[in-house]
Amino acid sequence: MKILVCISHVPDTTSKINFTDGDTKFDTNGVQFVINPNDEFGLTRAMWFKEKQGASVDVVNVGGPETEPTLRKALAIGADAAIRVNTEATDGFAVAKQLAKVVKDGAYDLVIAGRESIDYNGGMVPGMLASLIGANFVANCIGLEIEGTSAKAVREIDGGKETVSTSLPLVIGGQKGLVEESDLRIPNMRGIMMARKKPLNVMEPIDPSAETNATSFEKPAPKGAVKLVDADNVDELVSLLHNEAKVI
């Protein structure tokens, strides 16, 4: 089985978020980047397939050279080879288009993407990719088993789970549940040393134009100070909720 894991290069969840260029660009200054958590669950599941059932695992990212440390971390965790499509990841469709080419060229059987990346939370790439390459698709995937060419996938649905059976070629939008947090791997020292020797191929993009363009970003208004109202003073509380918070 040939597996491709799509890896997004995203800011660490504890990063301070700021914008530059008149609020049109994310300010990467001082930000630490990590493997998108949903993708990391997927990568860890892919490693399980590789070790338990025999599979090759490649990883791919659409992005500039600055994303290479993230790909190299995936190699250190155990992926066999990495591909970087050398263009800025603009919108979901632009990314899906590039990935479709990679999947077709590499004849992958299973593509594991994250349900969404935690930077812009578009959540469109896996579905679009599946449709571009004509593969089956399972969104919000929290469990995956493969036997031969048939697959059993568990999906998170509102308040419950759905189990579906499908077959390869398959694209999933994965998330926590594919594996648990405690299963996530810390790259070991040998893996880190070997990562340097594994292939990281840079591909030039096909028609990198995007269909949408972010014109501005806005941060949520900062939380105001908390007002404490004395427990005996119900009148003041009601007045504040009515006049200031305007919720009653």
């Binding site: 190299r72 810390i186 070991n188 020292m189 040998r190 880190i192």
Partner: protein
């Protein structure tokens, strides 16, 4: 290689040579692989150690062992071990950074890690025969076996060569029988292998042996010691009662044990400094996070000048510690490379490479072990009453920090050693101190220049001050050597003064060179806080040097000589433009507050 050789300082030479900022390695120079290693170690520390901090405080020795096994699985125990023996054979800087970032969760794990990878493994990789290395090192590198180091005895602590443990050769000449009592042995409770030092007949020096831990071979352990800190680090007495050891298990030659012990400690010392660094970062981060949250008088306490001052000092000392530790680590790495290129085996090269910088290793051990203690102390203070409570991490950090001043040679021993080694190097002609010291003596007699130098360039005044601080050392130590000759070693308080001067010079210079290097590559504005930390550190260093210089001078010089030297001291420690220290501290503290962590 030749180019490195030309620029690479010899050990102790920092005192008489000026270093360019381009020639120092700083933590900002970590390559991508090192960066990835650092992140992996931090992740391990967060997930496996820090998340279970209370287990260590409850003396869960088995858990320390379990964490060591996990560290082994991830390859952390083998980073310094050559590849031929199952390790990863990484460079010295990489091994330092693993030790640095793995050590901050708890002193219990950090001690187990240090004792195993350092003094438990290194004597074999550095001195073992091919057979010994093949037989023992692979298990140690993976954590299948753990090692411990038995040097100290009830009657032989700082005076390590005075141990009473004996090794007697059997009649057939095939085995030694070891008898004796060792004390304070880290990892004793779960180790499979001991490095044991014992005396053969009435040799002047002790001899090292590799001894497998086998209770049926006369080895028994005392109870766990109950300690102030590092509570889940196994520390026991080890008794050898007619323990039989094959002659092949002798390390190096007969009587070479003391040398092995000392050289293993050189590596141990610089690694111990590294092991205190991330604690300082974490303590500073935890403290600033608390200070940003905690309000008194309707104000986050982080906004109070008194707290800002602490935060700034904590950050500046951590910064200087990092700067000096990685500077020395890279010198060692380069020296090893040079020696290997000129035909030394890896083993010889590593041994000589580290030995070359034994002075720096001692200085760093002392400086950083004291800084982490101060840092934890101020951390408690920032937490107020909560800092005194077992519920916050400050209390354990403070208790755990305390041991670093005692083991791997007490700080007193290391202070005296640093100056002693330097004087010895000068006598042997390895470092020319005499020439520069004579020049300083001439300068003292001469008429001082009243020109005001041009200090407009970044750090020009600071670098000038550093150059003059070196003169303080040369003046004090130079005259002391002249006065006392070999008797100098009896004047311990003077040696401590001299060592304090040496420490501050090395730390301050390293901080300045790092900030300068970063300012050059990123820009002065972007590095405003680093510049402020380097300046603040130097300001403090100058004060310490003034005091120690004065104490030293007064202790042995009288009359006109004393007057002249005190005037020299004043001149050498003079600022033309005093830095506004309050502003420096505010600049640093505002940055750390805004980032809500130690962010350098």
């Amino acid at each position: 290689m030749e180019t490195i050789e030309k620029e690479l300082l010899r050990g102790g030479q920092f005192l008489v040579k000026e270093t360019n900022c381009e020639d120092v390695f700083t933590p900002e120079d970590f390559n991508e692989e090192q960066q990835m290693m650092k992140e992996a170690v931090i992740e391990f520390n967060d997930r496996e150690i820090i998340a279970h901090r209370e287990r260590f405080e409850k003396k869960d020795y088995a858990f320390t062992e379990e964490c060591m096994r996990k560290a082994g699985e991830l390859g952390f125990l083998g980073v310094a071990v050559p590849e031929e023996y199952g390790g990863l054979g990484m460079g010295f800087v990489s091994t330092m950074l693993v030790c640095d970032y793995i050590s901050s969760g708890t002193g219990s794990f950090s001690t187990a890690f240090g004792a195993h990878t350092g003094i438990g493994t290194m004597p074999i990789t550095l001195y073992g025969t091919e057979e010994q290395k093949q037989k023992y090192v692979p298990q140690l590198a993976t954590g299948e076996w753990f090692g411990a180091y038995c040097l100290t005895e009830p009657g032989a602590g700082s005076d390590a060569n005075s141990g009473k443990t004996t090794a007697v050769l059997s009649d057939d000449g095939k085995t030694y029988k070891i008898n004796g009592q060792k004390m304070w042995i880290s990892n004793a409770g779960f180790c499979k292998l001991f490095i044991v030092f014992a005396r053969i007949e009435d040799d002047k020096n002790i001899t090292g042996f590799i001894v497998e831990n086998d209770p049926s071979n006369g080895i028994t352990l005392g109870e766990e010691e109950h300690k102030l800190g590092i509570r889940a680090s196994s520390t026991r007495q080890v008794f050898f009662n007619d323990t039989v050891v094959p002659v092949e298990n002798m390390l190096a030659g007969r009587g070479e044990g003391f040398k092995i012990a000392m050289n293993a400690l050189n590596v141990g010392r610089i690694k111990l400094a590294a092991a205190c660094l991330d604690s300082q970062r974490r303590i500073t981060t935890t403290a600033v996070q608390y200070a940003n949250e905690r309000k008194q008088f309707k104000t986050p306490i982080a906004d109070f000048g008194a707290i800002k001052s602490k935060i700034a000092e904590m950050a500046a000392s951590a910064y200087a510690g990092e700067s000096a530790s990685y500077r020395a680590a890279k010198n060692i790495e380069d020296r090893i490379a040079i020696r290997q290129a000129s035909g030394n085996t890896h083993q010889e090269a590593e041994l000589k490479g580290v030995e070359e910088y034994a002075i720096e290793c001692s200085l760093l051990k002392v400086a950083v072990s004291e800084d982490v203690q101060n840092c934890a102390d101020e951390g408690i203070q920032i937490f107020g009453g909560m800092g005194f409570s077992e519920e916050t991490p400050m209390e354990a950090a403070w208790r755990d920090a305390r041991i670093a001043r005692i083991y791997e040679g007490t700080n007193e021993i290391n202070r005296m050693l640093s100056v002693g080694m330097l004087v010895k190097k000068a006598m042997k002609g390895h470092v020319d101190l005499l020439g520069p010291a004579m020049k300083v003596a001439d300068e003292l007699m001469g008429i001082p220049s009243f020109d005001v130098p041009d200090y407009s360039e970044l750090f020009s005044e600071e670098k000038d001050i550093i150059a003059r601080l070196k003169k303080v050392f040369l003046m004090v130590a130079g005259s002391a050597v002249q006065k006392f000759g070999p008797d100098l070693e009896k004047h311990q308080q003077l040696l401590l003064n001299a060592s304090n001067i040496l420490i501050e010079i090395y730390m301050a210079e390293s901080a300045i060179l790092r900030a300068e290097k970063n300012a050059k590559r990123i820009g002065v504005e972007a590095q405003e806080e680093q510049i402020a930390m380097a300046k603040l550190y130097l300001f403090n260093a100058v004060e310490i040097i003034k005091k120690n210089g004065m104490e030293g001078i007064i202790s042995f010089a009288e009359g006109d000589e004393q007057k002249m030297m005190l005037m020299g001291l004043k001149r050498f420690t003079k600022y033309t433009n005093y830095p506004n220290v309050v502003e420096l501290r505010n600049t640093i503290a505002e940055k750390v507050k805004a980032e809500n962590k130690y962010c350098f």
